[in-house]
Structure formats: C-alpha cells, structure tokens
C-alpha cells in the first residue's frame, strides 16, 4: 500500500507550533535534523541551506559577513518550508517574498528521484534557461515534491535602520499615506498597519500606550545619510494626511520593542478573549484598493459582531484579520466562516488574491478555483498528475 507523504516543517507555524494536517492518514516527514548551512558565497550573495535551518539560525551563522536573509514571516520557520509555502513577511515591500529570493532548489520527487530545479550547484542571479522549475515548487505546499535544499539570495545588512510610529484619524488616511510613501519613491523596508482594535490589544498585552486609533509602524533601511531624508519625506506625507505623534528611533532596543509588539499581535489578539481560539484571514489587493477593502471589512466585522483586530503589510496591499472566536459557539463559528468567505470574495472582486501569504492548504481550494479560473486549475492538475501521478505528496491540498 502506498502511503501519502506530508512533509514537516511545511506550514508556517500558525495554528499551533509545528502542525502538519494530514486528512487521510499517511507518513509525516520531519526534516529538522537536516540542519546544515552549506556553500556560502559571500561575494555572490548566495547560500544553500537544508530544511532544518531557520532565518534566525542562518542570520546568526552569517553575522560576521555583514549579510542577512531578510524574509521574516514572524515565526522562526524552516527556510525550505518557507520556500514550499512562498512565505512572506514584514520586509516584503523592500526585499520581496520567497518567490524572488530562491535561486535553486533540490527537490525529492514523488518517485524518489532528486531534482535540481536550476541545475545542480547553479546560482546565477538571473537566468532565462528553460522553464522556471524553481518557482513551480515555491509555493507548491509540498504537493509536487519535498524540498531538501534551497539556494537563497542574500542581502547586505544595511548601515542604518530606523523605526517609526505614526497615528492616524482614520483607516483611509493611514492607507493613503502608505500609497503616497511608495509613490514618493521612499525605499521603505517595513510598513505595517494596525487598526484601533489591534493597537488596543497590543497596548494591553505589551504594556504600551499608543493612541488607540489606526496606526502605521514603519522601518527604514539604508545609509546613515539617507535616513534623514527618508524619514523627513515620510513624516511630511503623514502630516499631510492628518497623521500625528510621528515618533522615530534608531536605537536597537526601542526598535526591537516596536517590532515585538507587532509580532506579538497574534497573542495580543488572543488575550482579548481568554479561552478563545484565533483564526487569521489573509487577502491581498492592489494597493489602491486597500482603503476600500479595509473599511468595508471593518464594517462587516462590526455588523456581524466579530472580534477581529486588523494587522497588515499595507505596503504590499496585504492584511490579516486576527479573528478571536469561541470554537464552541456554533453561531459564532458560522458567522466567522461566512465573514471570511465574503472577505476573500471582496478581495477577488478588487483584482486581488484570496491569499497573500498563508497559502491555499485545505480551506481555500474552492476560492483558488474562483481566483484563477477553471482552465488554470486544469493546467495545475496536469502538472500535479505529471509530477505525482499516485497523489502521494500532501494529498488533498491546494487542488
């Protein structure tokens, strides 16, 4: 009997730590002990890692070189797992997601053969050789093969990092500022939106005292000289949009506290209703549609009496509602479920996607159909049938 295979770590830890969901039973592979950093090429800005290496582990290994891998999903996840799920993070607006930062993969296919997607050992920064197999596997969520090595693009650690916070009178003004900051050509590294409910939760969880109103957390990377310019242009834009209390800091400790507050958002949301579970939505739209979708979404939350603080990577047009619900209340569960469907369809109607970062998995398969259309699904199914005819690899996911 052939057992299906699911690979761990695969899903970016979100529900609980290190969960693989296997609907029909099978074998889960834990690749955590394959934890070597291989083949670092400093001058070429690339490195190859095995599945057990995480961003924190890699960056610690690299620290004498002045290089880092900036894709930061918040959890210290496996880099190969991040490739499998096309992970993103707060830095994506400046450094991109996994899609743009994987140069080559070693993948074990369903028949046991070992594939090097860009050719064994190859790591040019760009190529137009043949079909883009590397990016076929990035985001395939383990349904096409098991990633056992990833060659990643590295970046120089910037000379200076400055973080800033700014409060806004409305969602519209915060998002308008975001759009204008990007249009002004500021090479902003992080631009995160937190709505009033989220800020309130963060204040309570982390003992902070930000104004309870839509807020942007920002971070600038660059040379010391360019910091002043970036910060002042941004400050002016926020001011023009009615922003207030623009505060910035270069000090590492202050910056650390700021981003901890953002990364703790999940726990801060949970703390709003102890005893409840949290569920995160994830949609992404063109940036210009962001004000509209967030405003409509907030109205939907309020109308349906759902606790859903919002945090998002507004620089990418991507946001999450961290919904806190009582799983034992069937009415609430139903309301939340309907809400998330409406939200995904709202994003699709605005030329967006039903998932910016978290992937399709089980829950969004129907939405994937709506998003890409029947023909694209058929093409995907064809690829799956070619690479995994016996449907061993993480069956039931994505398609």
């Amino acid at each position: 009997m052939r057992l299906p295979i699911a690979c761990f770590p695969l899903l970016v830890p979100h529900y609980n730590k290190h969960t693989t969901i296997v609907p029909i039973g099978g074998v889960c592979l834990n690749l955590r002990k394959m934890d070597q950093v291989l083949d670092l090429h400093q001058e070429d800005f690339d490195v190859t890692v095995e599945p057990g290496v995480t961003p924190k582990g890699l960056n610690s290994y690299l620290r004498d070189t002045g290089l880092w891998f900036p894709v930061d999903p918040g959890a210290d996840a496996s880099l190969c797992g991040m490739a499998a799920t096309s992970a993103s993070g707060t830095n994506a607006v400046r450094y991109g997601t996994m899609r743009g930062n994987v140069l080559n993969l070693e993948v074990v296919l369903a028949d046991g053969t070992v594939l090097h997607t860009a050719g064994k050992g190859r790591r040019p920064r760009k190529t137009s050789a043949g079909y883009n197999l590397t990016n076929l596997f990035v985001g395939s969520e383990g349904t096409l093969g098991i990633i056992t090595k990833a060659t990643l693009r590295l970046f120089g650690i910037p000379e200076s990092m400055v973080s800033a916070v700014c409060s806004f009178p409305s969602v519209q003004s915060a998002v308008d500022s975001t759009v204008q900051i990007l249009q002004a050509g500021v090479p902003i590294a992080r631009i995160e939106f937190l709505d009033d409910v989220m800020i309130n939760a963060c204040n309570r969880f982390n003992n902070l005292s930000y104004a309870v109103t839509p807020t942007l957390f920002l971070e600038f990377h660059g040379s010391s000289k360019s910091m002043e310019e970036q910060v002042s242009i941004t400050e002016e834009i926020t001011w023009d949009n009615g922003g207030s209390d623009f505060a910035w800091s270069e000090d590492e400790e202050t910056r650390g506290r700021l981003w901890k507050a953002r990364h703790d958002a999940w726990y801060a949301a949970l703390a709003l209703r102890p005893g409840c579970k949290a569920y995160s939505t994830d949609v992404c739209v063109p940036i210009s549609r962001l004000p509209q979708i967030i405003v409509e979404t907030k109205e939907d939350l309020i109308r349906n009496n759902i606790t859903g603080p919002i945090a998002g990577h507004v620089g990418d047009g991507n946001f999450h509602c961290l919904i806190v619900l009582d799983p034992n209340d069937p009415d609430e569960v139903q309301r939340v479920h309907s809400f998330t469907e409406r939200l995904a369809r709202r994003a699709l109607a605005m030329d967006g996607t039903c998932t910016g970062e978290h992937g399709i998995g089980l829950g969004k398969r129907a939405l994937l159909r709506e998003e890409v259309g029947l023909l694209a699904i058929e093409v995907m199914q064809g690829l799956k049938a070619t690479l995994d005819p016996k449907n061993l690899m993480n069956p039931g996911k994505v398609l």
Binding site: Q36, N59, D64, G66, G156, I157, P158, E159, S223, E252
Partner: protein
C-alpha cells in the same frame, strides 16, 4: 580596550584519533560569543564618547585576522594581531594570553581591558582574572552592567546569589557576561569600511612573553556513548535490573 577570542563553532565536536585534542581543521571558527559582547560594550562606550579609542586584540594564527576584522566592522578603531601558530597555538592557554595582554596594556597605555568572561571551547574563565593580577589592576568579572563614573567604573556582577555591584578604579579589567548587551551584527557597509582600518602584527617575543606551556595534555576522550535502553516486562523486572546496575 581589548577583546576577542577565536573559538570553535563546529556542528559536532570530534576527538582526534590520537586523542591529543579535538579536530579543528575545516571547522568553522568565529568570535567567541562572550567576546562579541565585550566588543559591543567597548563600541557602545565609544559611541557615548566615554572612551577615545577601541583596540581589538587577538592571539593566534592567520585566521584570527578575520575575527579582528569583525570587531573592526562592529566599531573598533584598530587591531593588533599577536601571531601565535602551530604547536605554540595548540598549547596556548589563559596564562600565556594574559601575559600578552598585560604586556600590550602597558605598551598601549590602555585604561580598560574588556574581554569575554570565558571562551566557549575551553570554558577556562581565567584570562581576565590573570591579566588583572599580572597588571595589579582591579577587576570586574561577570559584568552584566558597566557604568563609567569619572575615573571609576561601577560594575554589576552576576554571582550565584544574585547581583553584586562594585566600584573599581581605572585602569581595570572587565569580563563580559551574557546579559551585558546584545551584540550588533556588523553591517555590510561597515565590513567594507573596516577593510581600511589597520591591523598591526606583533610576535609574543616582541612583547617579552614566552608562550611555552607548563601544561601537558595527556589525553582527550569523548563522553561515553549513550547506551540504548532496555525494555522490561514487569515492574519486578525493572526493580531487579536497577538493583543489578547498582542504582538502588
């Protein structure tokens, strides 16, 4: 101010077949973590304009120049590489290093020596203390907080019972403990700039120091291999087996 040591960072430590030591060839070496903390503290003092110059010192073969460069990239002003290689390097221990540091401290007229409290490959925790003794300087070891107050140093020390605060006169020796600070990662532009900073080569003989060791390593053994467990059928069997093994 001085600092860093090069230490072993192997994924898995292996004993050499002749049992004279551990395999170091081909193993990644990097700055001792406690020394990183020491360098960070020195650089912080300079950023606060409390000290004029930070000098990074390391003793060892050619490789240690990389470590000194990292310290320079973190913000040290110049480096001194005390060349010790081959057999001398294998037997280099805290006593010889502290003699070197003491000689350099006098030569450079240093006011403060900061080093990591211990190296993570040998866990000796002796160099700082020996250096202070040789120089007859006060010492603030296991520092988790250092404050400069005019010509004195207030040092909060991590001790078994908690924290001890002492005040010592400069010049002094301080050894860095874990909680003193979080070392910065050297940025790429700073690493590039650091290539232009000077590293001077010195031999121990130039400092009048004899690096021959008075210790001889007799043998190095791995810890005993973990034996696989034994399953037993009953509680009675368990008790018998434990008695047999002399455990109860």
């Amino acid at each position: 101010c001085f600092a860093p040591f090069l230490c072993l960072r192997p994924p898995q430590i292996r004993v050499k077949p002749d049992r004279t030591g551990v395999v170091t060839d081909g193993v990644k070496h990097s700055m001792n973590p406690f020394c990183e903390i020491a360098v960070e503290e020195a650089v912080k003092l300079k950023e606060k304009k409390l000290v004029k110059e930070v000098v990074a010192v390391s003793c060892g073969p050619q490789q240690v120049q990389e470590t000194i460069r990292t310290a320079l990239a973190m913000g040290a002003d110049r480096g001194i590489h005390v060349e010790v290689s081959g057999k001398d390097y294998e037997t280099l221990g805290p006593l010889q290093v502290s003699k070197i540091f003491a000689a350099l401290a006098k030569k450079e007229q240093a006011d403060l020596i900061i080093l990591g409290k211990q190296a993570i490959d040998d866990d000796c925790n002796q160099t700082g203390q020996m250096t202070a003794a040789l120089l007859d300087w006060p010492q603030g070891t296991f520092a988790s907080e250092v404050t400069l107050e005019a010509d004195k140093l207030k040092v909060v020390r991590e001790i078994d019972g908690g924290l001890e605060t002492i005040k010592i006169k400069l010049p002094a020796v301080v050894t860095a403990d874990l909680r003193l600070n979080t070392p910065r990662y050297a940025t790429l532009p700073n690493i590039m700039k650091a290539k232009k900073k000077k590293i001077v080569n010195v031999k121990p003989a130039d400092l009048g120091v004899d690096v021959s060791s008075r210790l001889e390593v007799l043998k190095v053994d791995e810890p005993p291999q973990r034996q696989s467990g034994v399953k037993v059928e009953t509680v009675h069997d368990l008790v018998e087996k434990l008695k047999e093994a002399g455990r109860i």
